[in-house]
């Protein structure tokens, strides 16, 4: 159970040491952190998860969509059938017949699989941040040899804060009824990207190379109707 507290500092201090990983995680978010770390943490988590999935996907592609022969990866080809009607003049003269022409062609397995499924589709994260402290100062003069404009002062500002409590119950106001001015709202939205450029180039190349191959003589006889 979370103990009752009059203010946030009491709340932190009175929070007993937690042993279970779930509660420790909650305590981590109540700690004062650099604001940059707080905002970038979920983005780093998403990119790590995406990297993990992309690595798995790349391994899957090599193992299942290609076969290695003589040190080279060759695509596994899948045979497909194409049927189309062809207008022909009938043998008895004058009339028109519609014959079905059957053509076999091969496409690489990679172009049939729905590969762009393996990524985080969408992430929307909204949270409030309480600014607890800030630091702003002037740094040393940039050196000429560093390639920067000489004489320009480097200004640094550091903001520290922590994840704010859910303020939807009290309408964004603290216990005194005043608007909490040091609180900022952070909204992070991540959307899935298209396939990697390399994979797209491969797919484009394969699509352009699809050329129909006529059916051999014995097949043609029973496939033409």
């Amino acid at each position: 159970m979370i103990p009752e507290a009059n203010n946030r500092d009491d709340f932190i201090q009175e929070d007993p040491p937690q042993k279970t990983p779930k509660k420790t995680k909650g305590r981590f978010f109540r700690q004062i952190q650099n604001i940059e770390s707080l905002i970038s943490a979920p983005l780093i988590a998403v990119s790590k998860a995406n990297a993990m999935m992309l690595t798995g996907q790349a391994r899957f592609l090599l193992e299942n969509c290609f076969e290695k022969s003589n040190g080279k990866y060759m695509p596994i080809l899948i045979e497909m059938t194409m049927k189309r009607g062809e207008v022909q003049s009938s043998n008895d003269g004058g009339g028109i017949d519609i014959a079905t022409q059957c053509i076999h062609f091969q496409v690489p397995l990679i172009s049939l699989l729905p590969l762009n499924n393996l990524a985080i589709d969408k992430l929307k994260l909204d949270f409030g941040l309480n600014i607890t402290s800030s630091f702003s100062g002037k740094g040393r003069k940039e050196r000429k040899e560093e390639g920067k404009i000489p004489g320009v002062m480097k200004k640094t500002s550091i903001l520290n804060g922590r994840i704010a409590e859910d303020d939807t119950k009290n309408g964004g106001k603290n216990k005194g009824g005043r608007q909490t001015s040091s609180q900022i709202k952070v909204s992070i939205e991540v959307k899935s990207q298209d396939l990697p450029k390399g994979t797209k180039t491969l797919l484009d190349l394969y699509s352009k190379m699809i050329t129909p191959v006529s059916v051999s003589g014995e097949d043609k006889a029973d496939e033409t109707t």
Partner: protein
């Protein structure tokens, strides 16, 4: 199996993009080219290869989902 996503394949005759679903191909359905009305389908010989690959892709997807939870 999430194989109902619409994908596109170039028509071997007119290079128009033909919409298809892997689920439909595996069921033996044919998909029509919107331009030249050619019908494309998966050859029965290679159905098992596509089915196996789809199964492995779904396994990979569910293992990633489990890791993320």
């Amino acid at each position: 199996m999430e194989t109902n996503n619409i994908q596109y394949i170039s028509c071997p005759c007119c290079s128009t993009q033909i919409p298809f679903t892997v689920a439909g191909l595996l069921r033996g359905e044919s998909f029509m080219c919107p331009r030249c009305q050619a019908l494309i389908s998966l050859s029965q010989r290679d159905t098992s290869i596509v089915q196996d690959a789809m199964k492995k892709l779904e396994e990979l997807k569910s293992s990633h989902t489990a890791q993320l939870k």
